[in-house]
Symmetry: C2
Subunit: 366 residues, 2 copies
């Protein structure tokens, strides 16, 4: 497996869109000078080639996949529906697959990928989630800046590839986390899906209580239609499939909602609502400060803003099998400084020694 | 009781802010030429006088209330906390009190007002709800345009005053509904408070499930702090007092939420989520079209865009004790056309005859 960007010769974008285009720009920013092959409709390929987003392209999936060391899957309405299965089937041995399709069905994905253990499948998620229209017009060079990228390597053997990709995104100003799929699913249900679930519950609650003889003002009408549009649209964009895929996690979330409703009722009835809300707010503030302080040990490195040094760090860490929990640009220290978060004090000590050997200076934050 | 704007000699703003200033502009727009007295800090009074928002002013509540036929209560940090009680106590006999303070405690209000049956107390609510900062800079002449005003007269005897105010707001481009306090409270709990309740439930649900070892990204952190800020801020702005005031309505809403959670769980478990969500969306669309079609009978009047004609309509209707459910500007018909919605076919027939007698042409919509 090639886990250094400079080892890769051909990278393929299956689907050319703002996300995969921004990824292509990020690859060049990190020093990639090989072939960047794009697959999409003839018009889109021509356009992307004209803008030097890609170095070559075609409408054929086979041409794109052939000998590609890294395949970035992106949404495109011009590619066939079974593009994913096709790509898994035909990808070159040992290739990295970065799945940049946001509404993937995770269960289907993992079943398909399980059949090709020689691939390095890595899920890609971005926060804040992309709003399709707003981001289409965004500057592709600034696309990742200030965003958080969550990478989900499928197996332990995919971690080096995830670390290579981490350095690419970090160099563009993103914060990057790697985690396994189970942890991501849990997190996704608790933090992202809960919000969709509650939007739907709000709509249903309002509709159940709303009687036609009640005054429905223009404002309320437009609020209800907005929520209807949101829920119908989320339906199209596979929101319901997501809920079904994450059923057991979502059911846990529903139980928590029920418990919080019961709590609120009790507190309303016994007149202790103020104390209850105050305690929740206090717990929230405590959690936020704990989340910040309970993070793993950190190490500051100076790359002199050179992607080459960044690559050297990633390679050294990957070879020593040291997982980087998170990499963040340290803007307050000037260009080229990065903070690496590691999983334990022991791993940090190993990282210090590995990086020293590679000629890279490190510094502890605490 | 004076229920024609031209009968009023002195109108007082207790608290000069964007809402009461916009109301003053609306009064002038409807032809009011009497005294417009403002009470606030010396600086604010001077400033409002300089901008001809008011014709006279002072820092003294007593001076403002003396002989005022209409008192508009507005938020002001310069007036004493017990301004409301003071105003109820000292207002001139038969005066109209328009309560433009958004975070009033309805229960406290109705108890205080019950002691002065000779006053005409009318609650004022606006949709979309005012965001304090955005609206401060808004043009006061366009303030009511496109908004919905809900007026809650306290007793039947306050309806003529509410109709006089209705014409003032309608002439500025607002849609106006009058309803009694109980109906408003029910509506408020079901449509406005449910949204606050669910925001709080979302926060509590996320916090209960969030463990410090979980990856808390910058984006999630900022989402949680936004929600914490919203809930803490709503606390300050009397959100909790509102929940407590409307306790029995809120408890009904909580039961509905529980029922919807249960429903969602069942549908998830038996695999019928798609059908369930589709049926809720369908019910929502049906309700919206029903809400529009089930509205009361309407009458179109042509005022020639003259506030005087509008006043004559309001007077004739008030004298005949015909309640106007809603008045809306009919922009598609050109300036001066308004649609009056009445409560029954019988009342519409009476309205037609009353308006004909007053020399005003009417037209049915259906």
């Amino acid at each position: 497996m090639n886990h250094q960007l400079s080892d890769l010769r051909k990278i393929c974008l299956l689907g050319i869109n703002p996300v995969t285009s921004a990824f292509a720009a990020a690859l060049k920013n990190s020093g990639f000078r090989g072939e960047l092959f794009g697959v999409d409709s003839e018009k889109i390929v021509k356009d992307a080639w004209g803008k030097t987003v890609i170095t070559d392209g075609s409408t054929s999936l086979d041409e794109g996949l052939k000998n590609s060391d890294l395949v970035a899957l992106g949404e495109s309405k011009h590619l066939p529906e079974d593009t994913f299965a096709f790509a898994v089937d035909r990808a070159a041995s040992d290739a990295v697959m970065l799945d940049m399709i946001s509404n993937r069905h995770r269960l289907d994905r993992s079943i398909a990928v399980a059949a090709r253990r020689d691939l390095h499948y890595i899920g890609f998620h971005i926060e804040p989630t992309l709003g399709t229209t707003a981001d289409c017009s965004a500057n592709i060079r600034a696309f990742f800046s200030g965003k958080t990228v969550l990478l989900t390597p499928q197996f332990k053997s995919d971690i080096p590839a995830a670390e290579m990709l981490t350095t690419v995104f970090v160099a563009c100003g993103a914060s990057v986390h790697s985690m396994n799929q189970d942890k991501f699913d849990e997190r996704h249900a608790q933090f992202d899906l809960v919000s969709d679930v509650l939007k739907f519950l709000e709509l249903e609650t309002i509709l159940r209580n709303c009687r036609p003889e009640q005054v429905v003002t223009q404002h309320l009408e437009s609020r209800i239609s907005q929520q209807l549009d949101y829920c119908s649209d989320s339906r199209k964009s596979e929101w319901l499939k997501e809920l079904a895929d994450n059923r057991s996690e979502v059911i846990k979330v529903l139980s928590t909602i029920e418990a919080t409703v019961g709590n609120l009722r009790t507190n309303l009835l016994i007149g202790s609502l103020d104390e209850h809300v105050a305690s929740v707010i206090q717990a929230g503030r405590a959690l936020l400060s704990k989340a910040v302080s309970s993070e793993g040990p950190e190490l500051i490195v100076n790359t002199g803003d050179s992607p080459r040094v960044m690559q050297a760090i990633a390679t050294a860490m990957a070879e020593a099998r040291i997982a980087i929990d998170r990499i963040e640009r340290l803007t307050e220290r000037g260009d080229g400084y990065f903070k690496l978060r590691l999983l334990s004090l022991d791993e940090r000590a190993r990282a210090e020694s590995v990086l020293r050997t590679a000629g890279i200076e490190t510094e502890q934050t605490d």
